[in-house]
Amino acid sequence: MSIAEVDDIGQGWAGEDADAEERRRLEKTWKVPSNPLRAWFTNVDHKDLGKRYVVTALVFFVLGGIEAFLMRLQLARPESRLIGPDRYGQLFTVHGSTMMFLFAVPIMLGLGTYLVPLMIGTRNLAFPRLNAFSYWVYLAGGLLLYVGLFTNTGPDAGWFAYVPLSGPGFSPGKRVDIWAQMITFTEISSLAVAVNLITTIFKHRAPGMSLNRIPLYVWSLLVTSFMVVFAMPAVMLSSLMLAMDRLVDTHFFNPAEGGDALLWQHLFWFFGHPEVYIIFIPALGIVSSILSAFTRREVFGYLAMVMSLVATGFIGFGLWVHHMFATGLPQLGTSFFTAASMMIAIPSGIQIFCWTATLWGSRPRLKTPLLYVLGFFFIFVIGGLTGVMLASVPLDLQVHDTFFVVAHFHYVLIGGSVFPLLGGLFFWFPKMTGRRLSEGMGKLSFWLVFIGFNLTFFPMHQLGLDGMPRRIYTYLPETGWGTLNLLATVGAGILGLGLLVFFVNAAQALRHGEAAGNDPWGADTLEWAIASPPPSYNFLRLPTVAGRSALWSRREDQAEVTGLRSDRREVLVTNLLDAEPDHRDVLPGPTIWPFILGLGVAVTFITAIFTPWGVLIGAVPCAVALVAWFWPRGDMDREVVMEKRS
């Protein structure tokens, strides 16, 4: 059966009239408040929140990008006096923190909250209110950081804020406190999203979507979510310790009183290394989605791909010391971490090989999303290989903390994550907005970004080997670093231009883009079987699935789920392994309390910067919000339990 025959899932099943009736009921039940202000604060729809995540994260991306460009301007020539040391310190710290905590992780998880329920065939995430709460806390963290930056209290101790520099003795003022609390906000948010995604993926899949049929994109988010659950507590705890060292004079990191500066590094990198894979693994899922759509094949080696994702997730927890080779740890220990760091190249390699095998002789359509994926191959492989170089202790001792490392991580972060992300945004834009982007502008943006990127970051390898440390606000002419730095700055301009074209393309398409239709690319996952943009309830009738590529393997008489009530927000819960129908859950509708709770959390952590009593002050609104959140509103039509008279 060809793709053209796949129509709206659920469409026409029971005859036009019955369908229209069902549609009306679902629309009423799953309605987003029509007053925009109310909708903004009470919405719990995963698609609206997902889009909000993506847009917010892109705003932070632009801010972080502007900071990067300012740094590049300052570094373009030796002894430039454009930006002083204090400003520069804030710029690279806020750039790094923004890109990691406010852009990369939230956009990946946010896109996940948009796509996962669609791909697995359900109506919302398992915990819709928690999802709204996650967004508010994330937004609070982002605003806090930028209020700090614009009031000249931007953190300035680097994105990993090593003590003692970030401690009370050497960073007086509130700058680092703002950083530590921003971390707390974004981690709470990511942890909540992770739990939400895990539960949704485990329990809310369409009947028939057994574990071995989950789309690779969904697998990638599952692995990512597990990594979040086990990695982020480390940074929550360490940022708490740092804040307490600064605010209430604890001594966790103070060697004079039995603390240890290296403890910070261990805790931070125990989180920090998995963090980079948290950014990277969802991108691998995007690559798989795009590849299968454009090659019109299932990705080669499903099992190997899944095992590689899982292996990367596991090994990712055993590498953190490779960020600390220069601290002079014992050689035996460091060899272990070298071995582990190199081992992780094997699952990455397997995935590259499987994708190559997928592409092999597929005569793919070279549309913009696929171009970004091809760009990903080129850049990520370079970045991965420089990673393997860094994993070698002797080599790392030379290039650690130099621009070589800056080059490595932009190759993997931008090549490995941002390229697939841009491709993915291009790919799913029609689904999210109902409009198609212009291919011409898409290709133009790709080439500008690709060339600009390499021009910016390739020379940095050489700069690092030539002795240029990172995080320096200027350098002397005698060092000979001027030419390559100028080249990098020019490249950053081209890169920025390419991104500008990307955004202009999106803005134009929003206004007068061609209508997308359900399935503009002929792709294989469930989201393509429904309208673009999807209705608030997603599927008229929940689908069932007969194979890995839900749409390509769809039979003419593929069963659909009936019997769910449409007068309350009912969803089907299935069992973990085989996704057999298990029970019907009722999801909550729009509510203000997640927002109030987010506000309470914000009050707690922000006042805590100024007084320890903040924790108690903030506890009040939090408690009120939690009680209200929990208290039954009787709108779910649940059964009431009566006191038994005995």
């Binding site: 539960t199 809310h204 507590p233 705890l237 310790m241 966790f252 003419e556 009722v586």
Partner: protein, 204 residues
């Protein structure tokens, strides 16, 4: 349009318990997160202990094996009524739930009192040294959990009083108990680490 088969789910229940329920996964997720946090705190303790010249520092005195063990015993004892409350929820026995929630809440408050006494008797503060920071932070974080657990119990009691009590609350109650087991048991680890530390036992 061809006629499709259907998969009628109207007969399925809408409240189930244990790993079948979505919320169970949510609560287990939170336990995994907080468990990881506690584990990392414990690891930090051993890391600092390993690098220390003297551990615990000389001004530290054991707050007393008796009172700390007594506190732990109360905490562990509170698991039982919580378990019975969960059992009662299984039977939808509101009276039983109320009874066992009250009993366990009393135990929780008693534990908090003992916790307060122990903390007051400590010879050091969080700002005395890294050892003090660790003990106070672990105890503080754990106390926050106990207080939260107590408040949750009070909330359920209020709900039982005011109603309407829905079938879904039976699941909530059972998960509330599950979470409490976690809170209570996690202190066993810190109790062993702190109060059975051979170095500290010598300092009585």
């Amino acid at each position: 349009m061809s006629r499709r088969a259907d998969l009628d789910v109207s007969g399925l229940p809408s409240v189930v318990y244990g790993p079948r329920a979505s919320l169970w996964w949510g609560v287990v997720g939170i336990m995994a997160i907080e468990g990881t946090m506690f584990a990392i705190l414990a690891a930090s303790y051993f890391y600092l202990r390993g690098g220390a010249v003297e551990w615990p520092p000389t001004d530290v005195r054991h707050p007393g094996l008796g009172i700390t063990t007594f506190g732990l015993a109360i905490l562990l004892a509170s698991i039982l009524p919580m378990h019975w409350a969960a059992k009662a929820a299984e039977r939808e026995d509101l009276k039983g739930i109320r009874l066992w929630l009250i009993v366990s809440t009393v135990l929780m408050v008693a534990f908090l009192v003992v916790r307060g006494l122990v903390m007051r008797s400590l010879t050091f503060r969080w700002d005395s040294h890294a050892y003090g920071s660790l003990v106070w932070t672990a105890a503080g974080l754990h106390t926050v959990h106990v207080v939260t657990g107590t408040c949750e119990n009070l909330l359920f009691l209020a709900l039982l009083d005011r109603g309407p009590v829905e079938d879904k609350h039976m699941l909530d109650l059972r998960l509330n108990s599950l979470y409490w087991y976690f809170v209570a048991l996690s202190w066993v680890v810190f109790y062993c680490i702190f109060f059975l530390d051979p170095g500290l036992l010598k300092m009585r």
